[in-house]
Symmetry: C2
Subunit: 204 residues, 2 copies
């Protein structure tokens, strides 16, 4: 298909498609004339993935490039998931006392897996430290329950990755399952909490 | 405290604090001179909340203003949570077939609560439709499991809101619990999934 058709099929404006081509997020089409190239369904799928990572996953363009680079290099699912976590740490410094408090709680929760150099662990520590700064330390009393449920959700994620099987690269399935799954799960949780608050006078 | 101290205590640059004052996100201080005002711990807390909503919650400044407006007006927790969902729908149009497919699945899941005019439901439908567009329809086979676990997580959220009790406005607690809790839970889920993928050869 031509550029105009690629744009229509993916819902991405031509100027944006050209920008993604220049940035290397989208491989070039097969050249069929001095100013024309032919694109495939693979290009449409790639554009949809870029948009999903940006708009639903909340990744910046640079982060999308890093994640796609890891995917294209055939890195393992857990490596790709790690790259997707890299950009998500808030840059704001949190007070040392709040960070120490958060690190102690995350350490107790994850045991020896609590390596602060890991982006996912650093994210957890930052979010928890911000809760502390907001006077929301009570969350620490519920962390073990959240962690236990997170393990159950991750087991469903792993089963879903198996459902899809080798028809898709497991790393890509894992990425979609977690980045889009994060928003999906948050939506389901929101609906359930609104129900729960409606049932209890405390939330009225 | 003076403006410089407010900036130091909150970690927010003076220029940004002044901007938030002009935008009405932060109430003015008590005037103590022609060019001086006095700020309180309440101002520090408010600045921390604005930063958390922006940087961890991923809300835009306009969305933060809407959410704080609902909080300040004393709206119920579920109303404030709904306002926080409003800005989160991706603007990109999804193909009608994908949307219909997603709406049918969400309808089956939520029953009569599946009102597409509700921002949270619209978000769910959009995320699911994007999964469809990515060829990730298999997620629909796991939706009921995710929804059941989301109800368990929401029960922990509701318990946490009760833990904090009336010392804080329940709507503010609910907001922190869900917006920061979303990132916290995603981090825990990520760590658990990386563990699970490490244990199974499929993820290697």
């Amino acid at each position: 298909m031509r550029m105009a058709e690629l744009s229509a099929a993916s819902g991405v404006p031509v100027a944006t498609v050209k920008y993604y081509l220049r940035e290397g997020l989208l491989p070039g089409g097969r050249r069929v004339g001095p100013n024309q190239a032919d694109y495939t369904d693979g290009h449409v799928k790639r554009l949809r993935l870029v948009c999903a990572l940006r708009e639903i996953g909340g990744l910046s363009l640079a982060e999308v490039a890093d994640v796609l680079g890891a995917l294209d290099a055939g890195r393992a699912a857990r490596v790709v998931l790690g790259v997707a976590q890299d950009g998500r740490v808030s840059g704001r410094p949190v007070p040392a006392a709040a960070r120490a408090w958060a690190l102690a709680h995350v350490g107790r929760l994850l045991g020896e897996a609590a390596d602060d150099a890991d982006a996912a662990v650093a994210n957890l520590v930052t979010v928890l430290a911000v809760c502390h700064g907001l006077g929301h330390e009570a969350v620490s009393g519920r962390l073990a329950q959240y962690a236990a449920l997170a393990r159950e959700v991750a087991a469903v994620d792993a089963a879903l990755i198996d459902d899809v099987g080798p028809a898709r690269r497991p790393a890509e399935t894992a990425l979609i399952t977690t980045l889009l799954g994060e928003r999906l799960f948050a939506g389901l949780r929101h609906c359930a909490l609104v129900d729960a608050l409606g049932a209890a006078p405390a939330g009225a």
